[in-house]
């Protein structure tokens, strides 16, 4: 029984925190969020050199072969610093390739991904954003020998505008298939979405009869779902970790403010109306943290981690939402300004709350998993 991280994992955490402090302090976050693609490719190359992009990628495919727990350590610290990067997108895509792809496909896709030279992202969601095969309307139809045509529209594709390769999920026959497709393919259009949180990026990807080779299919035709669901669950856990980190970041910012801001002759953090709200955020964040850490273990060790993941998302979303909102409120009028960092956490919370299933949706998933 050991529900904690190893010394190596704590070292990794310190390494990421130091990196974020040095390479991406808040003024750099602001520069990136105001830039065109929010993507610092030099920083990305450094992250690849440190091995972070291939943490959970098997060693023979060019990664470090570590566990999803390690991904979660990095994601949490990136979330705390609000560092803009396609880390989650790429790590989730790597998981999908690892679960679905042939050895040859893994070698081809994962090595450049881990090296940071190829940004790969998973395009699963559409206008219907449920975590369910029924939400996929994009079709893959046979188009001559060894070729297929993909048609449809993918939404909320993480960092789609920076991607070199897209893992496109389409309906093929009775089930789902996943195709690794070049972002420059003919008939494929990437439009940036304008998100409420500009430290993150996502795109709409329209597929107008995009011709792909059958070889680009990962796994068996129409059989992708159970494994794909596991990749989505893993991605969801990493998102939760980012949210827990951001909630902690917001709590820290607001707590420090409450210690120094004086009103009525006293730091406002002395007043119970302030300190109790911060205590409640602590409770929510620590609980989300426990659920997230456990879910990170569950996706590696349990056959079905869906309920654990759903509960983590429910709590992480509510913890960050609350930390962000109270962060703005407790700062008073300064909290409403662009200059104060409180709104950056608030916006991250607003974004993550609804991405990959709202808390309400996650609660339904938990009940549905029990047949209720």
């Amino acid at each position: 029984m050991d529900f904690g991280f190893s010394e190596e994992q704590e070292q990794l955490r310190r390494q990421v925190r130091r990196f974020a402090d040095e390479r991406c302090p808040m003024d750099r976050v602001r520069e990136l969020m105001d830039s065109d693609d929010a993507f610092d490719r030099h920083m990305w190359a450094s992250m690849a050199e440190l091995g972070w992009l291939g943490l959970a990628v098997p060693e023979q495919a060019g990664g470090l072969g570590l566990d999803w727990e390690d991904v979660v350590v990095v994601a949490e610290e990136l979330g705390r610093s609000l560092l803009p990067s396609p880390f989650l997108a790429v790590t989730t895509a790597a998981r999908a390739v690892d679960l679905l792809g042939s050895e040859a496909q893994k070698a081809e896709l994962l090595a450049p991904l881990a090296e940071g030279t190829s940004v790969v992202t998973l395009a699963f969601f559409e206008d219907s954003d449920v975590i369910d095969p029924d939400g996929v309307a994009t079709t893959a139809t046979a188009d001559g020998d060894g070729w297929l045509t993909l048609s449809g529209t993918k939404m909320f594709v993480p960092w789609g505008q920076s991607a070199d390769k897209l893992l496109l999920v389409a309906r093929e026959g009775d089930g789902l298939s996943v195709f690794a497709v070049d972002s420059a393919a003919e008939g494929l259009t990437v439009e940036p979405l304008q998100l409420i949180d500009t430290t993150c990026r996502a795109a709409r990807v329209s597929l107008d009869s995009v011709r792909v080779e059958a070889d680009s299919r990962l796994g068996t035709a129409g059989q992708a779902w159970p494994l794909l669901a596991r990749a989505l669950d893993a991605g969801l856990v990493a998102l939760c970790a980012e949210m827990v980190g951001a909630a902690d970041g917001s709590l820290q910012l607001t707590t420090e403010f409450a210690k120094v801001r004086q009103q009525f002759g006293s730091p406002i953090g002395r007043f119970q109306g302030v300190k109790h709200r911060l205590a409640e955020i602590y409770v929510a964040t620590e609980s989300a943290r426990s659920l997230t850490y456990y879910a990170s273990w569950a996706v590696d060790h349990l056959g079905d981690a869906a309920s654990s993941v759903a509960m983590a998302k429910e709590w992480a979303a509510e913890a960050l939402d609350r930390a962000g909102e109270e962060g703005v409120q407790l700062h008073g009028a300064i909290g409403y300004t662009w200059e104060c960092d409180a709104h950056l956490y608030y916006k991250r919370g607003r974004l993550c709350r609804n991405l990959m299933g709202s808390p309400d949706y996650q609660r339904e998933r938990v009940l549905a998993a029990q047949g209720l």
């Binding site: 029984m1 050991d2 529900f3 904690g4 991280f5 727990e69 709590l251 707590t255 409450a258 210690k259 006293s266 730091p267 953090g269 002395r270 007043f271 119970q272 302030v274 300190k275 109790h276 911060l278 205590a279 409640e280 602590y282 409770v283 620590e286 609980s287 989300a288 426990s290 659920l291 850490y293 456990y294 990170s296 273990w297 060790h301 654990s308 509960m311 429910e314 709590w315 309400d360 609660r363 339904e364 938990v366 009940l367 209720l372």
Partner: protein, 397 residues
């Protein structure tokens, strides 16, 4: 991370299961929460259960063997509580206060004579204890207590009043906090006495609670003489004695299994009750609240395992446990509300009413949460603890 148990721990789990199969009468002895009166009805069976546990060395499981415990580790302790909880067996039996508050204090601070005198009857459930802590003027600010004890020869003479004393009507003994030095600072002027409840000048007046039961009492002291040899710890050490005397298992597993049982019962009731013309389990709002309850209980379980891991690694824990106390508060209040809400109009019917659902069990439950929510530190005190000790915010006094 590793959520598996060692071979030795798994062997212990098997041993617990065998013991439960042999000794636990699931119909006769069930943990049904803090309903003292119904527990008293089941007294003979509870005592038999306690005796079987005692012979096994599992009452006071973590206590040293020389005092009749098992010296069990915290993981085994968690396994024991979990397995007992799963079959709804009342692990702590009737000596609840003695086991939770008194025994650990006596083991740590008591004289040899006190250990010999008091520990065995606690383990055998022959003597029951109550705690004389709160006073009318000292609730959340317990250290301001005024009940005083003055030295007179070989006795202390106690005058004052205690209140909210659970089990005072049944207990033979009280662990009592008194002020022995009014000139010392408030925490240092307190001592701890072990007082027979049949002492002359000691009067118990039961207090009726909002659920109609009398779970606690006022206790008055009018020149009650307590021998000096009944002082636990040194004079002025009373605050430390009670502060450090907490049971050492923090995984919350016992609470979590009890909450799980409640949730299972609520889910099955939601399938039977009709709300707004359809089964309550089909109501979107009820569903959301059931799922929220489930994830909160899971959060408590996992928070508890994180605390346990810290303990196993030898790291200090303290204020973090307030996190689970606050979640528990939320659960207890919400259990009462949700259970009645899903009954629709029937939610207003108490046990004696025609048409009452499940004998009015949930209505009673919905009026009983202050026992756990206010007892042992109100939610606002827990929030202060978190804000001040974990977030480093300034004290409000």
């Amino acid at each position: 991370m590793d959520f598996s148990f060692t071979e030795k721990e798994e062997a212990f789990r098997s041993e617990v299961r065998e013991f439960l199969a042999e000794h636990h009468d699931s119909e006769g002895v069930r943990a049904d929460g803090a309903d003292v009166e119904s527990a008293m009805d089941k007294l003979p069976k509870l005592l038999a259960w306690n005796q079987a546990l005692y012979e096994k060395g599992w009452v006071g499981f973590s206590w040293p063997r020389e005092f009749g415990g098992s010296g069990g580790g915290i993981v085994e302790q968690m396994i024991l509580k979990q397995e007992c909880g799963d079959v709804r067996a009342p692990i702590l039996g009737l000596s609840y206060m003695g086991l939770a508050w008194v025994g650990p204090g006596i083991i740590q601070y008591g004289t040899d004579a006190q250990k010999k005198r008091f520990i065995p009857p606690i383990l055998k459930a022959e003597e029951h204890w109550c705690t004389g802590y709160s006073e009318p003027g000292s609730g959340s600010d317990l250290a301001s207590l005024q009940c005083r004890a003055e030295r007179d020869g070989d006795d202390y003479v106690v005058n004052g009043q205690k209140i909210w004393t659970s089990l005072a009507m049944w207990a033979q003994w009280m662990i009592l906090l008194v002020r022995t030095d009014p000139t010392a600072s408030k925490h240092l002027g307190i001592s701890c006495l072990l007082v027979p409840m049949d002492s002359e000048g000691l009067e118990v007046r039961p207090i009726k609670a909002m659920n109609g039961e009398t779970p606690f009492a006022e206790v008055f002291f009018d020149n009650v003489r307590v021998p000096v040899e009944n002082r636990l710890g040194a004079e002025g050490q009373g605050w430390d004695v009670t502060k450090h005397a907490l049971a050492n298992e923090r995984s919350s597993i016992a609470e979590v299994t009890a909450l799980h049982h409640n949730l299972d019962d609520l889910k099955s009731m939601a399938g039977q009750c009709r709300l707004n013309g359809k089964p309550a389990i089909e109501d979107a709002g009820i569903r959301q609240r059931l799922a929220r309850m489930q994830s909160t209980i899971e959060a408590m379980r996992l928070n508890g395992l994180r605390f346990l891991t810290k303990q196993l690694r030898g790291e200090p824990i303290g204020a973090e446990t307030s996190v689970n106390k606050l979640l528990r508060t939320e659960m207890d209040v919400e259990t009462g509300r949700l259970s009645c809400d899903m009954q629709g109009g029937h939610g207003v019917l108490t046990g004696k009413s025609p048409g009452a659902v499940q004998g009015g069990r949930w209505q009673k439950n919905s009026l009983s949460w202050p026992t756990t929510v206010i007892g042992g530190g109100t939610p606002n005190i827990q929030r202060n603890v978190i804000a001040e000790r974990l977030l480093g915010l300034p004290h409000d006094s």
